[in-house]
Point group: C2
Amino acid sequence: MTATILDGSALAKSMRAELDEEVTAFKEEYGVTPTIAVVRAGEDPGSVWYANAIKKTMAGRGMEAQIHVLPETATQEELADLVAKLSTDPGIHGIIVQEPMPKGIDEGLVKAALSPDKDVDGVHEVNAGRLAMVAPVGRPEGVGPFFTPATPAGGMEILRRHGVELSGKHAVVVGRSNIVGKPMALMLMRENATVTMCHSRTADLPAVCRQGDILCAAVGRPEMIRGGWIKSGAVVIDFGVNDVEGKMVGDVAYDEAVEVAGMITPVPGGTGPMTNIMLAKNVLEAARRQVTK
Amino acid sequence: MTATILDGSALAKSMRAELDEEVTAFKEEYGVTPTIAVVRAGEDPGSVWYANAIKKTMAGRGMEAQIHVLPETATQEELADLVAKLSTDPGIHGIIVQEPMPKGIDEGLVKAALSPDKDVDGVHEVNAGRLAMVAPVGRPEGVGPFFTPATPAGGMEILRRHGVELSGKHAVVVGRSNIVGKPMALMLMRENATVTMCHSRTADLPAVCRQGDILCAAVGRPEMIRGGWIKSGAVVIDFGVNDVEGKMVGDVAYDEAVEVAGMITPVPGGTGPMTNIMLAKNVLEAARRQVTK
């Protein structure tokens, strides 16, 4: 058996076309251009690359990205002040503060300056709390509107658009970061999956992974998850983005996994291309909430 | 084999003695009596009983509980206004808003009026968010101080005081309420357990439960979890409080479970007596944070 490839590049492309129409309609109705501020201190190459990618995605959709760069030597107060100022600027609808922040900066205090309403990457504690407390689908939500981190949201969108049944299925999530693993686990449970959360201390990880009807990998270790760890026919969502001698490699040993899984995201071209489009969707949504409230 | 009984009543008793000393020292140092406001609308019998139990526990420790009761007909605005007023009252260190709230009241809006600093039962989205985002033990926390719901905190305390190893163990949590199941799952993962979150949609629940080195039940269905669902030697934490013909019964079929489990909380006398003492500890902690900040 060879797995169906879950083509994130193709899906992102069709979503961009959908979003273009929504943005056009929004701008016509409200006369407002949805705008994100991308904030960082210093010139971390990954951050520079990602900021430019956001700018390109936003511009392509008729939206705007403002890049705000402080020097590497910026103090915590300067960074927090900038985020606070953008949080009250009515021309800014979404804010993303790029990590890693310079040494000595308390990321928590910087995030505390961020308005939850503009937290389009779902890193603020209020957004994390609402995701943690939201009711399962089909029941009244019980919490206010919130944003979820763009990367796991992209993984969920891939599952949804490919009609993968989640309710009652066993989902195994490997990795417990606040930006991928934990929100992914909570989103899967919201869709009524039974969810096992694994991490570096999990005993017999291969056996646990083999239980997953859906297996999500977000550990940042190249090809750690082998073909033999995958349940036959499982749906594999690989969030890994590892640089191995200049080649981008996922957390899953793709060549082995593709022989066992029922569906799998490739790396590159799987979850990666989805992140930007999910973030752009959140910026439009943030603008809509702010304009209509 | 017969399981070791995890005696929550005895543990709560010894914790009350410990807390008494801490409260005495705190009052001597700061001249402040830690005080909780218990707020409700109407006379739901369970709420009346619980409010009185809180009052008794607090009084016994030299702390204070104020019971604030609005009529059943109170509007959402009246309830939220009371909570907001107590949130800014320097004489009140902790607030608990009892549920169920009267029909037509949006619990989310009432909770939004609650100061997270006084949310000693961990129901506010900021506290839920910090629990969701806190780092595993042994790593820098990365979030501000927070409170967790008293009931699962009591379950964790039982595990801790009995020296139950959690790191690398497989914990299965049945039930996903915001007040027990979900926070319990997050607290177990924080202690480096591998955690499976189960619920009403879980397929083959008995088989999933049998994987648990630690099995936590919080479903509110009397004796649903049978002896055959329990891994031999597992530690069973039963949060169930079900009234069956006037008798209090847990979610676990105790007589069967006690023959299979390694350790088990009885009902009554297990997790129940721990809730109040954990809440009282949180009131002291809230008072300390407010007095020293």
